[in-house]
């Protein structure tokens, strides 16, 4: 058995060497949400490692001490029923660990579901991120800009992503800025992110959505607010406006490169009506006001119509 554990440790060491010195994306956070998640992950890895080691040590000790080859022929193991105290410890310690992790988990839930820490005071930048087979469309209603398959964001400003899909369920994920959230066709979900420093990040759809899923990625560039404003101005000078017929073409299944337009598809093809979670959770109340300001003039029928023609 000892052979096995040395083997396991050497495997783990090998893995660490293989991964090299590059930090893993999820554990290399560039924004407050991802930071919180990374610290939760490291915390749980630590606690869990202790549990695994305790179990392994106990197992190793028992296997070595009580193996048959080490005992006399006539040793007859005793009949032992459960012991109250032993069992109380076996229940008690896991309960304490789970209680502590539950506490952390609940706390983190409220943190990742609200404006990023340290950015509560600022007005968030709202970006509508919608997926179609197998592309991402990013609409900046405030700036009147729409991009395909790439995302520019200002640093040091909270970003509120409004997610929905023109097709299968997808999942919007920028590992270094924060965890993912689903984009679905009949409701809008909200993801709060923020970038602490400029940089380029990988973003992708993480939820299987058919043939083109593997390449369903986008580039994220975080830049200072000034650079961002400059980019917006540039787009308004150089890019073509997005028309309804052109947008319908973009929705056709397939892959596209990066594209830039002025105006957003929200004007003729609004986001779905439902805003999941708005009615149940107080922490998302702020969003609902913002949400209604964009949508009060659209009816359900319209959105259904455009939804369908997209297929």
């Amino acid at each position: 058995m000892i052979k096995k554990w040395t083997f396991l440790t050497s495997v783990m060491a090998l893995l660490l060497i293989l991964t090299g010195c590059e930090p893993l994306l999820v554990l290399d956070p560039k924004g407050p949400q991802a930071e919180r998640q990374a610290s939760d992950i490291m915390l749980s890895i630590g606690i869990m490692a202790v549990i695994v080691i305790v179990v392994m040590v106990m197992l190793g000790y028992i296997l070595i001490k009580y193996r048959a080859s080490k005992q006399s022929e006539d040793y007859e193991p005793p009949h032992l029923e459960g012991n109250k105290w032993v069992e109380a410890i076996c229940v008690g310690i896991p309960v304490l660990i789970v209680a502590y992790l539950s506490f952390v988990s609940v706390q983190s839930n409220y943190i990742v579901e609200s404006a990023p820490e340290g950015y509560e005071e600022q007005e968030p930048l709202v970006i509508y991120a919608s997926s179609s087979n197998w592309k991402w469309h990013f609409s900046y209603p405030e700036q009147g800009v729409e991009t395909v398959n790439y995302l520019y964001i200002p640093t040091d400003r909270p970003i509120e992503f409004k997610l929905y899909s023109y097709g299968p369920i997808t999942s919007f994920w920028i590992p270094q800025l924060g965890g993912q959230k689903y984009a679905m066709s009949d409701m809008v979900t909200t993801l709060h992110l923020a970038a602490d420093s400029p940089g380029e990040f990988m973003g992708r759809n993480a939820n299987f959505s058919g043939k083109g899923f593997a390449e369903n990625t986008f580039n994220v560039t975080a830049m200072s607010q000034d650079d961002f404003d400059e980019w917006v101005d540039e787009v308004h000078e150089t890019a073509e406006p997005l028309t309804e017929s052109e947008f319908q073409q973009l929705l056709e299944p397939g892959h596209l490169g990066q594209m830039t337009f002025t105006g957003t598809h929200l004007e003729f093809s609004p986001a779905p009506e439902h805003n999941h979670g708005t009615n149940t959770d107080s922490d998302t109340n702020a969003e609902s006001e913002d949400h209604s300001s964009h949508h009060e003039h659209h009816s359900t029928d319209e959105s259904e119509h455009t939804d369908h023609s997209g297929h």
Binding site: A34, S185, D186
Partner: protein, 648 residues
């Protein structure tokens, strides 16, 4: 011609044509072989019409092993495709079909029949019964499972495989995005085998509640029977949810309803919810009987009674209740808000407590024991640390905020394989080795068994531990390829090497069966492992009536009591034994179900309606039938008992 075009494969490839040829050759081979050796009658009398729980168990076992290789072939193709960046072995469509069928086959058609095999083989023996409560229903359950599995497998060569993932989330699985009949196969095959599972659940619950030998109170049942009982209760309450979800999915695809569609009010998340309300209890349906098998094996080879019997039972009851309260953790990222996620995060982590109790109880069972490292025990010993790792990563995934990062990544894939392979698959192989002599009369070779064990364990660690790392590095699951720039290459290559080792390991099992059949001694007695529970108290091979006299039960280890403490198991005179008659109806109904399923897949309404009427006619015939079974006389029993080794 147009009529036949629908049966064509939408995305043919050499592999599929090769399998078509292989299937044809094997089928012809079987038919010719049976005819040449004049075995048709034997096959019909002894197997196709049998209602004997032991033979049904063996048929489940064979099917499960076959499906293990089918699902394993899928797995090795996936790992080969991902071994190097930008590989071209498979295209996206094939990869999607392969991971979909891998998941469905492994869960529904490998793991489920494997546990049903052990439930059928062991439970009646462990409770001292002559058969299950409804032997003919039991046969029907098997045949429904079997035709479900066959229906699912022919999708590969007729009409195309499902390609929307084993979870088949809508709208991806709807007609708009999955045009081929593949997902129809998924819906119908799972429906048919699901009905079979539900009937097994009812059957086993009744058996365990009503047919225990005198003296066996609930708290004197062997642990495997307890685990089977709880698992079957979960089956009874979970499978109807799947039935309805599949019904709705089928009508969406075949009749244009809008349950899960994106238009006219349909709700795609409803499918996800229903699927996981069934799906999460489903994983406990698999793992609890595995726990039961480990309990039997660890206790036997530690020469110790199971430590903490009561807390073992209590923790299983608790797990079964919690299993229905955690389904939302499969989609924390759906945007339910912090409150909902918090609740389900806590209920999910709570499962760690009863599971932890079980781990410690197994450890304490070995404590002060006399541990023999036989092959079944090796699997059990490896199970404890490996499953602990799988379990604690489950706790990590249960932290919903962090799950936003784990979800849909290889980390998750690593986690559930880390629970299912050491948890369920190792248990099944341990159980296979442990119970093999009871049903086949010879032991599997220990040496080959040990190399199998090492190949599988090392292969498992190499194949799945790297995925934890690539997952945290941003490798999403279900991607058919990745670019070199991602840096996922080396670790995926390690995974492939591990998968290859596992494949070799599984092949050695087949070789072991062949080798042992040729070489193992046959005079092994009825108790080759020096075991403790009742299933070892009868002869090897087990006579059709199991026990000539119904045993008297003293404790959960009543056989050990009879060996060591002078407890008298079998008292009184031999009496005539009443046994059920064989029947061809379950097999015929299975065939009709297959026809019905196939017709629905291709929307062939005339044969579909005829087949449905056929099913109703079978039910009607059963209603009118008067079958009082048959009686085995005392003389016959004496004769049989003398032939297989003296009266017990």
């Amino acid at each position: 011609m147009e009529f036949f075009e629908r049966f064509a494969i939408p995305h043919p490839s050499p592999a599929i044509y090769a399998s078509m040829v292989a299937i044809a050759v094997v089928s012809i081979g079987i038919v010719v072989g049976l005819t040449y050796f004049k075995k048709w009658g034997y096959l019909w009398r002894e197997w196709l019409t049998t209602v004997d729980h032991k033979k049904i168990g063996i048929m489940y076992l064979i099917s499960a092993l076959l499906m293990l290789f089918r699902g394993g072939a899928d797995a090795i193709m996936m790992r080969a495709q991902l071994a190097t960046p930008d590989a071209k072995l498979l295209d996206a469509q094939h990869y999607n079909e392969i991971f979909t069928t891998h998941g469905v086959v492994m869960i529904m058609f490998m793991a489920m029949p494997f546990i049903f095999a052990f439930m059928n083989l062991i439970v009646p023996l462990q409770i001292g019964a002559r058969d299950v409560a409804f032997p003919r229903l039991n046969a029907l359950s098997f045949w429904l499972f079997f035709v479900g599995a066959m229906l699912f497998n022919i999708s590969f060569v007729i009409g195309g495989s499902p390609d929307a993932g084993w979870t088949s989330y809508f709208p991806l699985a709807g007609n708009d995005f999955s045009e081929s009949v593949g997902t129809n196969y998924y819906m119908l095959a799972l429906q048919i085998s699901g009905i079979g599972s539900l009937m097994t659940g009812i059957n086993m619950c009744t058996t365990i509640l009503k047919m225990r030998a005198p003296g066996m109170t609930l708290m004197k049942m062997p642990m495997f029977t307890w685990s089977a009982f709880i698992a079957n209760i979960i089956i009874v309450f979970a499978f109807p949810v799947l039935t309805i979800a599949l019904l709705m999915g089928t009508t969406d695809r075949l009749f244009g309803t809008h349950f899960f569609a994106t238009t006219n009010g349909g709700m795609d998340m409803l499918w996800a919810n229903f699927f996981w309300i069934w799906g999460h209890p489903e994983v406990y349906i698999l793992i609890l009987p595995a726990f039961g098998i480990y309990s039997e094996i660890i206790s036997t080879f530690s020469r110790r009674n199971l430590y903490g019997y009561k807390s073992m039972v209590a923790s299983m009851v608790l797990i079964s209740l919690l299993s229905f309260l955690v389904w939302t953790h499969h989609f924390f990222t759906m945007g339910q808000g912090a409150l909902t996620n918090s609740i389900f995060s806590i209920t999910t982590m709570a499962i760690a407590v009863p599971t932890g109790v079980k781990i410690f109880n197994w450890l304490f069972t070995m404590w002060k024991g006399k541990i023999r490292f036989t092959v079944p025990m090796l699997y059990s010993v490896a199970f404890i640390p490996l499953f602990t790792i799988g379990g604690v990563t489950g706790v990590m995934l249960a932290m919903s905020a962090a799950d936003y990062q784990y979800h849909n990544t290889m980390f998750l894939v690593a986690h559930f394989h880390n629970t299912i392979i050491p948890g369920v698959v190792f248990a099944m192989l341990a159980g296979l080795t442990y119970y093999w002599p009871k049903f086949f009369g010879f032991m599997l070779n220990e040496k080959i068994g040990k190399s199998t064990f090492w190949l599988l364990t090392v292969g498992f660690v190499l194949a799945f531990f790297p995925m934890y790392i690539t997952g945290l590095d941003g490798q999403a699951r279900r991607m058919y390829t990745y670019s070199e720039a991602t840096g996922f290459g080396p670790l995926n290559m390690v995974s492939f090497v591990g998968a290859a080792l596992m494949a070799i390991g599984f092949v050695t099992i087949v070789y072991n069966v062949y080798y042992s059949y040729k070489n193992s001694p046959r005079n092994i007695g009825s108790d080759p492992w020096d075991a403790r529970s009742l299933e070892w108290a009868t002869h090897t091979p087990v006579p059709e009536y199991n026990f000539a006299r119904i045993p008297q039960i003293s404790s959960s280890e009543t056989f050990w009591d009879s060996k060591k403490n002078g407890h008298q198991l079998f008292k009184g005179e031999l009496k005539e034994i009443h046994m059920p008659n064989n029947s061809g109806v379950p097999f015929i109904m299975g065939v009709i179900f297959f026809i019905a399923g196939f017709s629905f897949v291709f929307a062939l309404w005339v044969p579909a309606v005829i087949a449905l009427i056929g099913i109703l006619v079978c039910l009607a015939l059963r209603s009118f039938e008067q079958d009082h079974g048959r009686h085995i006389s005392v003389e016959e029993i004496k004769e049989t008992e003398a032939k297989i080794g003296g009266a017990k």
